[in-house]
């Protein structure tokens, strides 16, 4: 059961990773980063059950927090600088 969950999460992570690599605009990459972060949280929770030591849920909790704060911080910084025009122009 946990194996199925882990496989699903890994497939999702790799697809999101592909979007992060391709992502034409900066926001696509931020979105992919957010998604990889959420899936990392889930993966750690699932791995805790897979290895029969589910007492490490604290880490997953901290990951969820860091992920959210990270995305907000990134968006805060996108106000400055020229990433937006540069990022959406090409690549």
């Amino acid at each position: 059961m946990f194996t199925a969950a882990a496989i699903g999460i890994l497939v999702t992570m790799s697809l999101a990773l592909m979007r992060a690599l391709l992502g034409p605009t900066t926001f696509d990459r931020i979105l992919a980063l957010n998604m990889v972060g959420t899936k990392t949280t889930l993966l750690i929770a699932v791995v805790g059950f897979l290895t029969d030591r589910p007492d490490f849920m604290d880490i997953a909790l901290v990951y969820a927090l860091i992920n959210f704060i990270g995305v907000i911080a990134v968006l805060r910084y996108t106000k400055y600088g020229e990433f937006l025009t540069e990022g959406s122009a090409e690549e």
Partner: protein
């Protein structure tokens, strides 16, 4: 009782994993940023919750269950907030939504 819980978790985990994968495929295949945001929203909210609740039903101790519930509640608040903030920031930076007439940026 245990068998019922097992079946319930199986259903929830399959739903969660399926929605996550569907969302990720959408993230990869959709033509522009706003549609991708829509697809990622599904994977990050309902997909993640279904997976977590499916795992939650298998928890043996109360401490683990409470931590998992905290994670679910946290995702419940942060995922939509992050998605919303992203969409606002993208609009504020004049990223045009994609339309059928292809006036926006090319996919």
């Amino acid at each position: 009782m245990a068998a019922t819980l097992d079946i319930l978790s199986w259903i929830l985990i399959v739903i969660g994993a399926g929605l996550s994968i569907v969302g990720a495929v959408g993230l990869l295949r959709f033509p522009d940023f706003f549609t991708r945001l829509h697809a990622a929203g599904i994977a990050d909210t309902l997909g993640a919750w279904a997976l977590m609740v499916g795992i939650l039903l298998q928890a043996e101790s109360w401490l683990v269950a409470v931590k998992l519930i905290l994670i679910v509640v946290f995702l419940f608040f942060t995922s939509p907030t992050a998605t919303h903030a992203l969409a606002r920031a993208a609009l504020a930076s004049r990223l045009n939504p994609w339309t059928k007439n292809a006036t926006g940026p090319k996919p």
